[in-house]
């Protein structure tokens, strides 16, 4: 049961029509695997992600793969936060055009519901009643039920075909250690997905990990990919990325101050 492999090989099992979940929030975003997915041939994908930023192309060029970069082979995005600004990039405009044409669907959740649906998938529930989103755009098309005097919306579980996660360190059995705010949705994506691939900075022997510090037990991880040391996403080059992120944040700030004026 050798789980250690390359990104290309791990991603090669993603088939046409697959539902792929990915944690795109905080330092635990598996951007190295994402690039492999972008480069992969599978089409008609559904993408389940916390955040969907349709960034201006100049920012994308700096910060590396973004979640819109796979739009060409995607038919559905389900996100906890989506921001698509007309005119901000060619990708963005194409996304808007495709939504209008009906060849691309968007479903908006909250960050909490995004996680809830994965957890319900992990637990193999049939669905659940959420108090979040009543009286908002989230309730459109959803069954409403009054329980003990309060209104709830029916939400369905999500069981991704493939989950992409990022951790700091893995052992060869697939046990993952997270650090800082790199946890995010990674643990719940790993639990919910039929097949989970993890990218990590380092792969060590099982005896090198503290059993008390494991954030995702190896049973949930099917393949482990080490980020090459010369990649921008590697541990060695992270401080470069921090500097780029600062540029990125500045650019976002500018976007925001332009976009949020109401």
């Amino acid at each position: 049961m050798d789980k250690v492999t390359t990104a290309t090989e791990a991603i090669s099992m993603v088939q046409d029509g697959a539902l792929v979940a990915i944690n795109f929030w905080g330092p635990g975003s598996p951007k190295y695997l994402w690039q492999a997915l972008v480069d992969h041939t599978a089409k008609d994908l559904s993408i389940y992600t916390n955040n969907f930023w349709a960034m201006p192309d100049d920012i994308k060029a700096i910060v590396g793969p973004d979640v819109t970069s796979i739009a060409d082979k995607t038919i559905r995005y389900i996100t906890g936060f989506a921001d698509v600004k007309p005119g901000s990039s060619a990708t963005c405009d194409k996304i808007i055009q495709r939504v209008h044409e009906g060849s691309l669907k968007f479903e908006s959740l909250s960050h909490g519901i995004f996680m809830d649906k994965l957890y319900a998938g992990a637990m193999r529930l049939g669905g659940f009643y959420s108090p979040i989103g009543v009286g908002t755009v989230i309730e459109e098309g959803k069954e409403k039920r009054v329980i003990n005097g309060a209104e709830y919306l029916f939400e369905s579980p999500i069981i991704p075909d493939v989950g992409l996660v990022k951790a700091t360190t893995a052992d060869t059995l697939g046990n993952l250690v997270y650090t800082g705010t790199a946890r995010g949705a990674n643990p719940v994506i790993a639990m919910a997905s039929k097949y989970t691939i993890a990218e990590v900075f380092d792969i060590v022997k099982p005896e090198e990990l503290d059993p008390e510090r494991i954030g995702t037990p190896g049973i949930f991880i099917d393949k482990i990919v080490k980020i090459p040391e010369d990649d921008l996403q590697s541990r060695q080059r992270r401080m470069e990325l921090v500097k780029l992120r600062i540029e990125y944040a500045k650019a976002l700030e500018e976007q925001k101050s332009q976009g949020d004026a109401t």
């Binding site: 349709a54 698509v84 808007i96 959740l109 909490g112």
Partner: protein
């Protein structure tokens, strides 16, 4: 035109609502500015998965930053004793538990306590919902810190929302660059006005019914 408060002063007034031992989440916009003026002992949460984190680094302190210490808005924060990390399941249990005070920015707030934080965006695509729906719904106390009017001068405190709601009937207190207003069973009560402003002048900038508190006074920071 009379002077309105700066965003920093709005943030300072909002931060006064937080006492040592309080747990809170600070939303995007003016609430983020509260981070640098909350009292010692106020415990700040970020929905991406950290509680009790320290002050943010400035952009020129790159060499000190820990690339794993990033908040929900992609800022780098410092270690603080008592800090803890967790995944989104724990984070949203926290957010919905009623144990956190939430300070959110707002595009519109109604006199009934409805709030719109995210805008509708482009053609039913970009709802920009994020964690705000959960934060508004679950807060122990929901404080909105925002400007009283849009750049075009349109009142943001309204009788009924005219843009999609983030959550309904959740807001407890509204703090703007003109006033402090409390959502009550009887309606919106004007409790404080910005220095130099009269209740009547604030009412003129507001699209909601405002009940002037008997002890209405000037905002302090």
């Amino acid at each position: 035109m009379k002077d309105r408060l700066t965003e920093e002063l709005v943030a300072m007034r909002a931060a006064k609502e937080l006492k040592p031992g309080d747990y809170c989440n600070l939303g995007f916009g003016i609430p983020e500015l509260c981070a640098s003026c909350v009292a010692d002992g106020v415990v700040v949460q970020s929905e991406v998965g950290v509680l009790g984190y320290g002050p943010l680094y400035d952009d020129d302190e790159v060499d000190q930053m820990n690339p794993d210490y990033i908040d929900a808005g992609v800022h780098f924060f410092r270690y603080l004793p008592g800090m803890s990390f967790f995944d989104l399941q724990v984070s949203f249990a926290m957010i919905r538990s009623g144990r956190l005070i939430s300070i959110l920015g707002g595009l519109q707030v109604s006199e009934k306590g409805d709030i719109a934080v995210h805008n509708k965006g482009e053609e039913k695509i970009s709802y920009r919902i994020g964690g705000s729906v959960d934060l508004a719904w679950g807060a122990k106390r929901l404080i909105v810190a925002m400007l009283h009017n849009t750049k075009a001068g349109v009142p943001k405190v309204v009788r009924d929302l005219t843009i999609p709601a983030t959550a309904r009937g959740c807001v407890d207190l509204i703090i703007t660059d003109l006033a402090v207003m409390e959502v009550t069973g009887k309606g919106l009560v004007l409790k404080e006005v910005a220095p130099g402003w009269t209740p009547e002048e604030v009412i003129a900038e507001t699209d909601a019914g405002l009940i002037v508190a008997a002890d209405v006074r000037e905002m302090e920071f």
